[in-house]
């Protein structure tokens, strides 16, 4: 059993209304009251790309959900697209537990980014391409492209800004998706040095329309 499966099993064991059984080193069967039983692959990976997602579903064709156990696990856009086409849910451990209780594990997506991604895809007159779970490229009708990275932290810091930049590449906007978020002065300063800007969701939408 991998360390991630072990942690998932122990944390599920402590959760109300869920019973988890280990099927193999990386797959858990999770039952919850009146909801469908879920087969979840628990990945310890730092990143999940298309090849990784394909390999996992090829070896484990019956899974309902692919869980990137590490909170900072980075999901590539093409891996997300593939999993959604396969009707395999994807996301963090928190997403998995919510999806089990909601009974929609096959359709669930990372709950940290689900809402904000929907907000951007519902903008009129733009095309949205997902490069990572936390990075989108918005193309306006006039052809202008704006790359947006999502910072989910309550208080995004200089380190959060730099790490997003290093891991996911340059962005035009670092969008603080926490509705109560308060980026630190250091975060704004770090963004300025990198040639980007930290905005909340509403201001990011305005920036896309007006820049």
């Amino acid at each position: 059993m991998t360390w991630a499966t072990q942690y998932a099993l122990q944390n599920l064991g402590d959760a109300d209304r869920m019973q988890a059984t280990q099927l193999n080193d990386e797959v858990l069967q999770i039952a919850s009251d009146d909801k469908p039983t879920v087969l979840a692959f628990i990945s310890p990976a730092e990143e999940i790309d298309l090849q990784g997602a394909q390999a996992i579903t090829e070896i484990n064709p019956d899974i309902d959900f692919l869980c990137g156990y590490r909170k900072r696990c980075l999901w590539h856009g093409d891996a997300i697209e593939f999993l959604e086409q396969q009707r395999v849910g994807w996301g963090s451990f928190g997403t998995l537990t919510s999806a089990v209780l909601d009974g929609d594990a096959n359709l669930a997506g990372h709950k940290t980014f689900r809402f904000v991604y929907r907000v951007f895809t519902q903008m009129g007159g733009v095309r949205v391409q997902r490069e990572y779970d936390r990075v989108i490229v918005v193309t306006r009708g006039d052809g202008k492209r704006i790359r947006v990275s999502f910072a989910e932290n309550y208080e995004p810091t200089a380190d959060v800004v730099r790490e997003l930049w290093t891991k996911c590449g340059p962005s035009d906007v670092i969008c603080n998706i926490n509705p109560n978020g308060r980026p630190t002065a250091g975060a704004h300063e770090a963004a300025k040095r990198l040639g980007t800007i930290v905005l909340n969701v509403a201001d990011t939408l305005r920036h896309i329309r007006q820049s």
Partner: protein, 94 residues
Amino acid sequence: MTRIGDIARVIRADCPLTARSNIYAFGSYLRNGFGVDIDLLLVSDDRFESGEVRREIMERFPELPIEITILTPAEELETDFIAEQQCVALEMLG
């Protein structure tokens, strides 16, 4: 699950770059002895050194769900993170 005190001991013994940093534990793992992830706070004014320290800790514990938050001293003052999250210095653990 690995005890937070054991993690603190290993960091002190095997992660020499951390000697000049202020590192704290916080979150459910500290409070309850278990949790989904293990939250550490690193307060450092040197962005390059803090990145190296994070790498050193992560490499020392490849099979633990460690999450490291890095703040500058100014950001710690601004957010009052240590008090708000009831952080405990690693020297006090283990």
